[in-house]
Symmetry: C2
Subunit: 272 residues, 2 copies
């Protein structure tokens, strides 16, 4: 999906909601466990219940890999299902990969060719040749970690460089944006540090941001929009557990929709 197509979907659905499919098999409703592929059943019903109000879905690969081959099968079915919806959605493999060049190319093949995601999250620690291979795939995106939503973000991401007087996450923004364009790079900036979005926007006024941390992690949608929104909206705000585990009963998809709708209605107002 191109940037322009994504913006069109956001305007059409009046939503910049991304739903995180952190589909932990130990937390999904028990009645699904009798199904052939419980995790795919769970995802499918969630997707059916929300794809008119969500613009993006983000399976978190860890929750699939932890189940080995069965998990990989659930992931494959989920992305195939997402790619065949009548309402087009932007798909994110939340995989946080990154390695030397020839290896990153293999990861890019895994997520862009084998699984056909629109985008994959990428860790920047190893620098240019770990990110560049993800940018060689036409119509695909690298979503690079800049400022993450967790407490551990304070360990390294705020270290201030002696020479250019910038924090590590600022240097990551400034350096990484030069490797690609607004059409193939997005950045992860956590909602739990919403006030930092103003600073982030100084470096990348026009890039899309993937913003996790609203909901269970405590981030505020209003603050994210206040500091992070741009003319193209420029935001994909993710909620995972707050939506997908809203109920552990047979009404889980209905309750998930209710939670998604609350966010989408706030988003519609913020889009204006």
């Amino acid at each position: 999906m191109t940037k322009q197509e994504l913006i069109e979907q956001i305007r059409k659905k009046k939503s910049f909601l991304c739903i995180g499919l952190d589909s932990d098999i130990t937390k999904i409703p028990k009645h699904l466990l009798a199904d052939d592929d419980p995790v795919f059943s769970f995802n499918k019903q969630l997707i059916d219940a929300t794809n008119d109000i969500a613009v993006a879905y983000k399976p978190n690969t860890a929750f699939y890999e932890s189940r080995g081959i069965k998990g990989w099968e659930s992931l494959q079915k989920t992305i195939d299902y997402l790619n065949n919806l009548q309402n087009p959605v932007f798909t994110i493999a939340d995989a946080k990969r990154g390695d030397i060049g020839n290896t990153s190319t293999q990861y890019a093949k895994a997520f862009f060719e084998e699984l056909n995601f629109d985008s994959v999250t990428v860790a920047p620690y190893m620098g240019s040749d770990s990110v560049l291979p993800f940018l060689d795939f036409e119509g695909k995106w690298a979503i690079v970690l800049a400022l993450t939503s967790n407490q551990g973000a304070f360990d390294f991401q705020f270290l201030q460089d002696e020479e250019n007087k910038e924090k590590l996450f600022e240097t990551v923004l400034k350096t990484t944006k030069s490797w690609g364009s607004e059409e193939n790079i997005m950045f992860v900036v956590g909602a739990t540090k919403a006030e930092m979005l103003r600073q982030v926007r100084k470096y990348i006024p026009n890039h899309f941001l993937l913003v996790p941390g609203v909901g269970t992690q405590g981030g505020s949608l209003q603050e994210v929009a206040k500091y992070g929104m741009n003319e193209d909206i420029g935001l994909l705000v993710n909620s995972s557990r707050g939506i997908i585990f809203a109920s552990d009963g047979k009404d889980f998809a209905e309750k998930a929709r209710e939670e998604a709708l609350k966010l989408q209605q706030q988003m519609a107002k913020l889009i204006g």
Copy 2:
């Protein structure tokens, strides 16, 4: 495998060689493609030919993921085979994972429980809660990226912190070592920057290091040993392509053994 057991294997085999199973299906000998699982056939023959002179094996997960479910099956068979050798070997999932706490726990389950590797490589960018979950598994190891072997390492890993006057990789070493012990944390330090090993050893004199970059990437074994070896040897030096793709004919395993033996014989002298 515990630190003590690893040291015993190194002393017994007179080797600190790790063989990287970057088993790219497009590069393995063509005659294997008729096999049921060509990549596993390739790995099995390499492992059979070298496990008396290598102490560790490091499948690089990207080369398996890029083949989807089939790749995951090859990886599963490979680790099962490694775990049932008569000569015990240390196993490394070179996966470079790292995410918020509940997600890192899932990655740890994937590699320590579902696949039963001894260790997994971890990217430090997201800080403590992205690394700590890997340290909660008895007898398992996190191998944290500090100074990588690629050109992109210069983008961020050498940024000097204004406050403590340390480079990012030094801060990663100093900070991360406090999260665990010499019994459950190792660090990645690239052989292409061997002279930096002296500096690395100031921060972590006793930890084991995983050192990629010897061979195709150009690092020198002698320099790595000169600057990085400690009383316990303290090194796992990896070679991937230089060994596993030494020949693309039916003699590939034999040629791989010859290349591995060259390194092992140098290592035996360095161990003394």
